[in-house]
């Protein structure tokens, strides 16, 4: 990763040429991260620690796949922003649906009781 920006730019323009070692290292990292996220379940970690570890390993894996395997790290910023920023809007949808879910379970408990 010590290559200069100009060198990377030149690479990007002539197709993606990277040393095979880079892919093997990322492959290994993805294996280790997957093993870690499996261990979260295997060891039975619960609560906020479980959720934050799951999210941490998920984001690290997703970042490695997009940046290296999908070559996003060597694309120009215009493409990076055009593709990676819109999915962030899903987070607003998440906030809306969390609020909606709270309301739904509130009405279910209020009108049907806890058993239904």
């Amino acid at each position: 990763m010590s290559e200069t920006t100009a060198h990377l730019q030149a690479q990007a323009q002539s197709g993606q040429h990277h040393p095979i070692r880079l892919y093997l290292v990322v492959w290994g990292l993805l294996f280790v991260l997957s093993a870690f996220s499996y261990m979260v379940d295997y060891l039975g970690i619960q609560g906020y620690l479980r959720w934050s570890l799951i999210l941490l390993f998920m984001m690290l894996k997703a970042g490695l796949i997009v940046a290296v395997f999908m070559h996003m790290a060597w694309e120009r910023l215009a493409l990076v922003y055009a593709i990676l920023l819109p999915p962030l809007l899903v987070l607003i949808f998440v906030a809306l649906m969390v609020s909606e879910s709270h309301y739904t379970i509130f009405t279910r408990l209020a009108f049907f009781g806890a058993a239904s």
Partner: protein
């Protein structure tokens, strides 16, 4: 090569950073200066697919958060009985490793493609397809097991009824993507093997000259399938 000459309309270094973003989007004819037509289109398709899977995971979240009935514990539901004891989530873990390995072989196939090593590229793509098929096979096994245990889209013996519909919808749609990817891989691998990208043989459908970039575009799709699995694994199986 002719295309890359055409697209580099302004000679000299292009500005970097935010200035580069503004210059690219404000420029003539095309915004994505280094990504070809095909690559940009694949990325935009993947963006739309991101929203599809995003909506599936969101509806799963909504169902799980809004039911007063306890959600089935995936750690127990997906456990396998091996050697006299239940190993939690073991099949899902193996599926995850298989899919990550297929992403690794795909990334190397793209690399050898740009080195114009036809044989290695085709073999690595076939290995990717094989791992993908193994993944779908294990998923079929998992579906069979759950269905035989009485899991249906409308009910299941473990807890909240919405579990089944979320499970079949999300893993089914992902499995469909993997299956389509395997078919797509076999088609591109055949083209590589035949030397279409060395002789620039024109495609039967698009009539465009064959280039090794097709392998990279295929790779984008395949890595996306792996990427979606990362999120499904985290939110559906581990949460």
């Amino acid at each position: 090569m002719t295309q890359s000459v055409q697209t580099q309309s302004n000679p000299g270094p292009q500005p970097a950073g935010m200035r580069g973003v503004a210059a690219d989007f404000g420029s003539d004819q095309r915004a994505f200066k280094t990504a070809s037509w095909g690559k940009a289109m694949m990325w935009i398709f993947l963006l739309s697919d991101t929203f599809v899977f995003g909506c599936f995971l969101l509806s799963y979240m909504t169902a799980r958060m809004s039911t007063p009935v306890a959600w089935p514990n995936p750690s127990e539901v997906f456990a396998l009985h091996i050697g006299g004891q239940d190993v939690p989530l073991i099949l899902i873990a193996i599926m995850t490793f298989v899919l990550i390995s297929s992403s690794g072989t795909m990334a190397m196939a793209v690399n050898f493609g740009y080195r114009r090593e036809r044989g290695k590229t085709a073999v690595l793509m076939l290995a990717t397809a094989l791992l993908g098929a193994a993944f779908v096979g294990m998923q079929a096994f998992e579906w069979t097991k759950l269905i035989s245990e009485g899991v249906r889209p409308w009910e299941n013996p473990f807890g909240a009824a919405q579990f089944g519909s979320a499970f079949f919808m999300i893993t089914g749609f992902h499995g469909t993507h993997v299956t389509i990817g395997v078919i797509f891989l076999l088609i591109v691998a055949r083209k590589v093997w035949r030397g279409d990208f060395d002789t620039e043989r024109r495609g039967f459908f698009t009539s465009r000259k064959g280039r090794y970039e097709a392998v990279e575009i295929m790779g984008l799709y395949w890595h996306f399938v792996d990427l979606v699995w990362v999120f499904i694994f985290a939110f559906f199986y581990l949460w």
